[in-house]
Symmetry: C3
Subunit: 349 residues, 3 copies
């Protein structure tokens, strides 16, 4: 892909300061190595120093911006540099990797499966009985869509996604490669002889609209009823969501988090990577949890920030942790006091 | 699916109290939102209060049960409510998602592969050379069964399972979507120049009967000999089992556990989610480990309960942890004693 | 496979002491159960006691080795037993699981895809537009190779690997089943209404030569530029590598490690299983980190050994941890001092 600075300025409705004929092949962050032929942007003034170092040949800046030193790059002045660059990025991404359409061969589609316009079904993908798929859906190769699954409009499933029977996926969702939706919850009834009997998992998974799910993440189906990922939830890679779990609107979860069965997490939470949640607990809205924390009981107060395994208030954890690091020194001080006390006792005897 | 209360009472050999014509479409837990048209059960008396709140229209209860308040739902009285409901659940599950049979097209089957009656081989699945498969086996779409693999009767592999060459899977096993069996163990010989040489992994994996393995879990093959999951072991999703590991009979492991190479875990253990095991250690039978624990040395005493990273006795961990939370207060008390000691010394000088 | 001891001695240029007609079917470690028909080796003298216990029927030993007791097994004397056995192991592995070649049917290959000699493309695999593949490459069944992907010579992708568009994989690499390369980085811009907008991820992943990646591991693509796994890096199963991450030469990472976005890890590091790294930090060369550690800030000193979550020096962590285990006893000592101090004060009043 190739744009001139002039073309870009037209797209962004910006004003050019410098050479408008420069050819742009790539986008780059201002604080990272930019190849020649890159365009970057400056929005946050604290990054201004990078402006004078970058190899980017064009830079989108806010109107009224005045460089303090000489700049090699051409400037494009716009109302809001962040928004303008973001628009450019969307445009670039669409051209770099345009949406796919059409049904490749071979695929397996049951007679009862139906789908909307602009459907992409990659080779070696499978649509079971009564599958219903909306408009503008992309299903990459080697996906398995089980019987009775429903998928909303404008949703993309990358290669090798597996959706078990009866699950429901909303509109504008993105499921990355290797995601598994609707596998059996981990339910076994202990028997008197020490063995376990499988408990059938007859519920399903409901994924609402605008949900993103990272590669190789697994969402188990409910024992009864539905496990639910609510609108706008964003899950990273390799996450485990147990049976009957509920994840609230716009809750964001980093990679390798594990949520045990029947736990309900509120909306607008931010969960750090590798955090684990015990089962059957409830997390209030807006809770923030640092990575590797262990949440073993319900959190009732909204907006708390937690850390530790088991986790408690982030600030209090850090105070305790600082002392933990100094524990040998603290133990020595205790010992010295004991000696002093012993000798002082002797002294006062 | 639709049953009348009358039909269900016949299946369960129960006695009806109330309207026998009610139509049942679903099963539900008594303490969760039941949709109209649901049947539930009451076995444990501590859940009785839910009986008066549930929207379930029929409830299976023990013979002799007398409600304390008026109930809208029809009751079905049986000898053992838990067992009866469990039977109903099995029946419902089988109808909801009946076993599949037949070989879909296209599949890839080597000339030397053999299989028993009632085989389901989903589209885009692959059977390598000399693969031997028993009766009533279901292999969902997009599975890869490597050369010389053996699979016992009544075993189900969901979509996208990959079994490497020479591995053995028993009877009555369930492997969920994306499971990998028999990938190379993580073995590299350090070279003088800082690089690593791959050590060939020539062993295999043996999975005994009645083993369940959760979605995207990985079991590495042994360097020599076999990595073994013994009869009745139950593994959740996204678990890592290193090379040469042995997991004992009826040991249950929650999601995201990691077991390093050559570690042997006893039978009837219960391992909490995200727990990690060092390599080359041995865990006694019946050990219970809380989630996120780190086990860095062998556990010789049977039936211990452990917690922490590194882990020690659960109760002792909790005692230490309670003090860790109060560490700032404890440090302050120490400081005050130091001041007092200093001034008292001055006093006694 | 079957060799006589005589044949093996010829391959290893070794001298036989004992019965040269014994038939060998398998290789085994000397300290583990060896089946009859196995060959083993003794290199490290501390394992000599196993020599008198093993069921192995032939043993490779160093020239000049003199057994202290009578041995049933035939000995093969060689210059360096470890190297010789390693050569035998490579030979055995190649025969056990020979490289595959040929294009199975059906596959999906775009018209613009090209490949070199001795190509294996397993059934149900997919090559997108402009894919370029070197010589002696093996791509097992059900792999998805996105548009514009480049793969070097002598690289193997096991079943179900998914490589997104524009990623680059070097020579002599091994990617195990279910690996995902190039999924979108986890980047979302928070909006005023609490929702998140997806930030397009227009970079790629570059995997250099001699890199191994374990089953179901995920490597996200960069937002801009490239996420890089440098030459000789070895990653175990179920690892998460975030966007814009860089992993140095010959760095080894055990299973279930998670590396957050934009973090750079040096060369020759050793990272224990389930360790987590915060984003935007830098780890010096040669750093060693124990399992389950949490690295929340940059490590500037080369060769450090760390432990804990958050992690600090391994030895210091262990000193603090030993005191943590004794915390109840330490708290009691503090309490006794307080009592003593109180009564001594009273005494001195």
């Amino acid at each position: 892909m190739k744009f001139t600075v002039k073309q870009i300025a037209q797209i962004l409705e910006g004003e050019i300061q410098g050479d408008e004929s420069i050819e742009i092949y790539n986008l780059a962050k201002i604080d990272e190595d930019a190849k020649p032929g890159s365009i970057s942007f400056l929005s946050n003034p604290k990054y201004e120093s990078f402006l004078y170092l970058t190899n980017a040949e064009a830079i989108v800046v806010n109107q009224g911006f005045k460089p303090k030193k000489k700049i090699r790059a051409t400037l494009i002045l716009v109302k809001d540099a962040y928004t303008a660059f973001s628009k450019l990025l969307d445009e670039y991404a669409k051209r770099l990797h345009p949406p796919k359409t059409g049904i490749e061969a071979p695929v397996f589609t049951s007679k009862s499966a139906v789908w909307g316009d602009n459907f992409y079904l990659g080779a070696f993908s499978y649509l079971g009985e009564n599958v219903q798929i909306g408009k503008n859906v992309q299903i990459y190769p080697q996906c398995h869509i089980g019987d009775n699954v429903v998928i909303g409009d404008n949703t993309t499933l990358y290669a090798g996604v597996k959706v078990y029977h009866n699950c429901v996926i909303g509109s504008h969702c993105t499921l990355h490669a290797g995601v598994v939706i609707g596998s059996d919850g981990f339910g076994f009834a202990p028997q008197p002889d020490g063995t376990y009997k499988n408990i059938p998992q007859i519920g399903n998974v409901i994924i609402e609209d605008h949900v993103n799910i990272g590669a190789n993440t697994v969402i188990d189906r409910a024992t009864f009823g539905s496990a639910i990922l609510k609108q706008g939830a964003k899950l990273d890679n390799l996450i485990q969501i147990g049976h009957n779990v509920e994840i609230g609107e716009n809750t964001v979860m980093s990679a390798q988090v594990g949520v045990s069965g029947s736990t309900k997490i509120g909306k607008n939470c931010q969960i750090g990577g590798q955090t684990g949640f015990a089962g059957h607990i409830k997390i209030a809205d807006g809770v923030r949890i640092a990575g590797q924390s262990g949440i073993i009981s319900s959190i009732k107060q909204e907006g708390l920030t937690l850390f530790g395994s088991p986790a408690f208030h982030h600030n209090e954890f850090m105070k305790s942790f600082v002392l933990f690091k100094k524990f040998p020194e603290i133990a020595k001080r205790l010992e010295q006091l004991e000696k002093a006390s012993f000798s002082s006792k002797k002294g006062t005897d």
